[in-house]
Symmetry: C2
DNA sequence: GCTCATACTTACATTCGTGTATGTACCTGG
DNA sequence: CCAGGTACATACACGAATGTAAGTATGAGC
């Protein structure tokens, strides 16, 4: 999802995928939908993600304007991440996709992913 | 999007992203929503995709059950791709995402993608 | 016999995404 | 003085995803 130039998109879906694409961003958005979370809380809320990748994703999403980063100058440090209105709107737009996934979860899990290459 | 083992998902959104993830599958689904297309037509309908990548994506989507491949034994060869009901349902679920992208297209295009790394 | 068109296949190269392991800064508490 | 906790940064590496370029098969038409 990293680009060296200003992108142009063929359609809205293309643009949306560029913003929420990748394995984690959708899950991060969903984790934050009920309110702000600290870095450590987010890491626990998104099982399987590594610290490094989580940071990279958060940075990207901050740059794209999906979320807000609030630093509290304390020791030990405290940083809270929350959705911007932009992020909320994307979350709303992704909701049907999440429902679709849940509806067809069984079918999706039985897909022979190792035969797709 | 290729996996060596049977996957399990943390939520529906995770599963949905695994199915429609990547740069192209969403666009291919959208291109096919109005009816079947031949390989060459699809290539023109999805600007920027290479033949090889298009084939790989189509193979994957056939395996996941999103689309159907119909071969006509002619010369020159003719192959038509069409959405299955499963593919149609995913397409419907992605529609709000496409609308969101179009609504915010200007904002998305001005995102400094090269500063996200 | 040569070219054309379509729908691929194959070989190779490159970039991207993701992951592991380790180090850093800061103050607190023992 | 040393360990602990938080939120990172940095170095390194692997495999997946994507791309480029070329070749294949078939029969039609000239």
């Amino acid at each position: 999802m990293k680009e060296t130039k200003k992108r142009t998109f063929t359609c809205g879906l293309d643009a949306a995928i560029a913003v929420m694409g990748g394995k984690w961003k959708g899950l991060i958005l969903f984790a934050l939908q009920d309110g702000p979370l600290r870095f450590g809380e987010l890491r626990r809320a998104v099982p399987g993600i590594s610290e490094r990748v989580l940071i990279l994703q958060l940075r990207e999403m901050e740059t794209t304007g999906l979320l807000h980063r609030e630093v509290y100058h304390q020791v030990p440090p405290k940083v809270e991440y929350s959705l911007t209105p932009f992020g909320h709107s994307l979350n709303t737009a992704m909701a049907p996709l999440g429902e679709w996934g849940e509806e067809h979860l069984e079918r999706i899990e039985t897909i022979p992913w190792d035969q797709t290459g």
